[in-house]
């Protein structure tokens, strides 16, 4: 087993262990920190696949943005040291059953499948190539989805402000 394969298995243990502890941990703040480890492991997986740009995006947006937002909202909404209520035993049993059956079904379909190997020359994954294709308006260009997603971000920003705004009562 080469160093690259060992690195992959270590990263997968980090991702799956972090995810598992994030959904089972009793304290909500610890759960957020385990989610952070899992997301960093996923960024490492992208680095391992030599997708440096997407790994950087993952670290900036998820680790630097979403997890910090989640931790802030934990601080705003509850005592972080408090233990969360335990779900009922029946719910745990039936969720485990559903999840295990779903996983077994998916993986039994996946495992015997032989994927065709590609013989094409790999394209350069530089930011220059990604930017050129993202802004091109020709075939296989992504200019229209980029514009749509920027409108979506604007709408989400305005929506957040509207939701968070305090409505003044009529009497004052």
């Amino acid at each position: 087993m080469s160093a690259s394969a060992i690195f992959f298995y270590i990263l997968s243990i980090c991702i799956l262990g972090g995810g598992l502890l994030a959904v089972t941990s009793k304290k909500i703040f610890r759960s957020a920190i385990w989610l952070l480890f899992s997301l960093i492991g996923i960024a490492g997986l992208y680095f391992w696949m030599q997708m440096e740009f997407i790994a950087a995006v993952q670290i900036i947006v998820y680790v630097g943005g979403i997890v910090v937002l989640i931790i802030f909202s934990i601080f705003l909404t509850q005592q972080s040291g408090k233990q969360m209520a335990k779900p009922s035993a029946g719910r745990i049993v039936f969720s485990l059953l559903a999840v295990c059956i779903g996983f077994a079904l998916t993986y039994s379909l996946l495992r015997p499948y032989v994927f065709p190997t590609s013989s094409m020359a790999p394209v350069d994954m530089s930011v220059r190539n990604i930017g050129n294709q993202m802004l091109s308006t020709t075939e296989y260009g992504y200019a229209l989805p980029l514009e749509v997603v920027s409108v979506l971000l604007l709408a989400a920003m305005i929506g957040c402000i509207v939701i968070a705004m305090k409505i003044k009562t009529q009497g004052k």
Partner: protein, 104 residues
């Protein structure tokens, strides 16, 4: 990375998806449910990037799909947290059991 077959990467992403699913089923706290949704979206991203890298290394489409998914996940998390904080203001709880006025 050629020593690891694609099926092992897909095993990781499938397992992560079902871990997120388990969290969504068992947790009753809105912030932890949001964290489970993030895990599910990340497993989808792993799939897109792995398929792009292993099966179509001459194209970049998987990267674009992951970038758009990350963007939409960020927007979704921001709106969800605004709703959660607003709900906390009016109900003093972010448990889904305490917010069932619009259930029926």
């Amino acid at each position: 990375m050629n020593e690891v077959p694609l099926n092992h990467v897909l095993f990781v992403s499938t397992a992560l998806f079902f871990i997120g699913m388990y969290g969504l089923f068992t947790r009753r706290n809105m912030i932890t449910m949001l964290m489970s949704v993030e895990l599910i979206l990340n497993s989808v991203n792993i799939n897109f990037v792995a398929f792009n890298k292993y099966l179509y290394p001459d194209k970049l489409d998987g990267v674009f799909f992951s970038i758009f998914i990350i963007t939409i996940a960020a927007a979704e998390a921001a709106v969800a947290i605004a709703i959660i904080i607003n709900l906390y203001r009016s109900h003093h709880s972010i448990d889904v059991k305490d917010a069932e006025e619009m259930r029926f």
